[in-house]
């Protein structure tokens, strides 16, 4: 039993290493277009989901408007590359920073609200973002055509293989690493204090407003990065990608994954991306089965799939069966 008692920091470090290995193996071995694209989608969504896990799971602030920041990220990249003529990498930096700034500006008034009222305010943000994406055609191209024909990512010229996967994997590792460090830092503990009680947190000397705004901006930045990568992945996209359903999917990833650990976002993203494809055979019933599985997970695994899985693995390692 003692052999497996690692500190949570050490366990996360090992996990990060394992993730890097898995991503590398996937990058090298999976060559089929279809499976590669699925994995890539899961990675891209996971980046946004990690941000939402920090916001919802750790700071306890619900957001139903993450689609807004994904959209800003995607359109920033599209415009930077096509209209400004920026290289995709600095453009990706813009799609991370711009949502962070917008997120910070929006968060100051919005985060005065809490609970259902905050849910509504962020929902309004997400719904409005979709409307702007479909109506503000000079920037977004609207519903038709949207942004079309972004160049294929070629960071190392002359290299034939698909480089976006590697870039996305690196982004995910960076986001995970940063978030895990954050969770174990005093900021992470401050977030959990805020989640428990803002009054108590303030009493303990935590600057509640600033911390909340910062984490909101961080979640927005991750969502923006995810949006930028999404734009590079799709190369042509329109406003339909950024409806409020995207926010609900991200929320599902976090809930189905886990609220209490960053790792849950990976499990959730994988499930939400893969499930619809696994249900391909069911055609008409696809949407229903998808919804039913989501419902059952929330009903019977309220701690999330990831936490339930981890707990199961832990029990196996320790050798004591659930009695």
């Amino acid at each position: 039993m003692a052999r497996f008692m690692l500190t949570s920091q050490a366990r996360d470090a090992v996990g990060l290493l394992a993730l890097a290995v898995v991503l590398l193996v996937v990058d090298l071995t999976i060559t089929g277009h279809f499976h590669r694209n699925l994995a890539l989608q899961a990675i891209i969504f996971a980046i946004a989901a990690v941000g939402l896990t920090l916001l919802l799971g750790f700071a306890g602030q619900v957001s139903l408007g993450q689609n807004a920041f994904v959209a800003i990220g995607a359109y920033a990249l599209g415009n930077m590359v096509q209209k400004v003529g920026l290289h995709p990498l600095p453009a990706l930096a813009v799609s991370t920073l711009l949502p962070a700034i917008v997120g910070y500006a929006v968060s100051r008034p919005i985060l005065r609200l809490s609970g259902h009222y905050l849910a509504l305010a962020t929902l309004a943000l997400g719904a409005s973002a979709y409307i702007f994406a479909s109506q503000w055609t000079s920037v977004t191209g609207g519903l038709d055509p949207g942004i079309v024909d972004l160049p294929k990512l070629a960071l190392v010229p002359g290299l034939e293989r698909d480089q976006l996967f590697t870039l996305a994997a690196l982004c995910l590792l960076a986001v995970m690493g940063f978030s895990l460090l954050l969770v174990h830092s005093p900021v992470g503990r401050a977030l959990q204090a805020i989640c428990t009680s803002e009054t108590v947190a303030a009493g303990a000397g935590i600057r509640v407003d600033r911390t909340k705004a910062a984490i909101f901006a961080l979640a927005a930045a991750f969502a923006g990065l995810s949006g930028g990568l999404y734009a590079l992945f799709m190369r042509s996209f329109n406003a339909t990608s950024f409806s409020i359903l995207l926010s609900i999917e991200l929320l599902m990833m976090v809930i189905v994954g886990s609220l209490s650990t960053i790792w849950g976002a990976l499990v959730g993203a994988l499930l939400v991306v893969l499930l619809p494809h696994m249900l391909e055979h069911f055609e008409a019933a696809k949407l229903f089965i998808y919804g039913a599985i989501m419902t059952l997970v929330v009903m019977f695994m309220p701690n999330g799939l990831a936490s339930t899985l981890f707990a199961g693995v832990n029990r196996l390692l320790r050798g004591d069966r659930a009695r």
């Binding site: 619900v62 008034p109 919005i110 005065r112 609200l113 259902h116 009222y117 849910a119 509504l120 305010a121 929902l123 309004a124 943000l125 719904a127 409005s128 409307i131 702007f132 479909s134 109506q135 009680s197 009054t199 108590v200 409020i244 359903l245 609900i248 929320l251 599902m252 809930i255 008409a284 019933a285 696809k286 949407l287 229903f288 089965i289 998808y290 919804g291 039913a292 989501m294 419902t295 997970v297 929330v298 009903m299 019977f300 695994m301 309220p302």
Partner: protein
């Protein structure tokens, strides 16, 4: 002037639908403290069921029968939600229950696409009232039905919560479930009742709006959002607040559509709503709850 009046009329019409949608949120919230995101799906199912039955319906008064059947269907749906899902949820945490309703929303969309197909269905006006033209203002016949329904339903709910033991028991069950059960109130039964009523109201609203907004299996999400927004804007838990919130959103939308920003009308109403919330964090006629730590 006629233009302004026309905007007012259509704003009140649309707002009445949002108001009825908001009442469903209000009643479930009052009995359980849960925000039921699947509420918009009740309207969607109600509309589709009406359309389905009215199209294939034969014999006397097909519309009345269709609407009645739709209401029964959505009430059963509400009951099933509470009995099969929320009751069995491992977590009693409110946030998780809300998430559960989001999962059910996805499921109901899927179910509707299976049962009713993925086509937009059309329903003819209910009739009985004539369409009116007053001056230069057009008042559609279906609008009269909707406004009358809103008035009746909201008065009914107001009376239920203010003047009947059942209504008070529902509120007690959500505020202090333990104390309520000590007084002989069964919180689960109250929750069930609230879901059945919300389902019935949703079914009615869906049926009433079907002739002016053709039902489609994807409609539920937007109706849910608008209803939620209306319920919050007025102050959560207050039936009158829900109606006022709904009318307000309807008027803002129709005004912004009328004065040249039709594409942005939803965005304008949502953003104004957030502005209202920031100034009055507990809604237009709500009171702030003080929480002890």
């Amino acid at each position: 002037m006629a233009f302004l009046l026309q905007i007012l009329v259509s704003g009140i019409l649309v707002g009445s639908i949002y108001g009825i949608a908001a009442l469903g949120f209000t009643i479930v919230f009052n009995a359980t403290r849960v925000i039921n995101f699947a509420n918009g799906e009740f309207l969607m199912v109600g509309g589709l069921a009406t359309a389905m039955l009215a199209i294939s319906g034969v014999g006397w008064m097909p519309t009345v029968v269709a609407v009645g059947a739709a209401i029964v269907a959505t009430s059963l749906l509400g009951a099933a939600m509470q009995v099969l899902a929320l009751n069995y949820s491992r977590s009693r945490d409110l946030h998780m229950l809300v998430m559960l309703t989001i999962g059910i929303t996805l499921m109901l969309r899927g179910l509707a696409s299976l049962v009713f197909g993925r086509d937009v269905l059309f329903v003819s006006d209910f009739g009985l009232f004539p369409s009116l033209v007053v001056g230069q203002v057009f008042i559609p016949a279906q609008g009269v039905w909707i406004v009358v329904a809103l008035v009746l339903v909201s008065l009914g709910l107001w009376a239920l919560f203010k003047h009947t033991m059942v209504g008070k028991a529902m509120q007690a069950a959500s505020l202090e479930p333990r104390a309520a059960s000590l007084c002989g109130i069964e919180p689960r039964r109250m929750a069930l009742l609230s879901f059945v009523i919300a389902g019935a109201i949703g079914g009615l609203a869906g049926a009433l709006m079907a002739p002016i907004a053709p039902p489609f299996y994807e409609n539920g999400v937007m109706l849910g959002l608008k209803g939620f927004a209306a319920a919050i804007a007025g102050g959560l838990g207050n039936p009158m607040g829900a109606v006022i919130g709904g009318l307000l959103i309807g008027l803002i939308e129709s005004a912004s559509a009328g004065y040249g920003a039709s594409g942005f009308k939803d965005a304008i109403s949502f953003l104004l709503l957030v502005a209202i919330l920031i100034v009055r964090p507990a809604g237009l006629i709500g009171k702030l709850e003080v929480k002890r730590v």
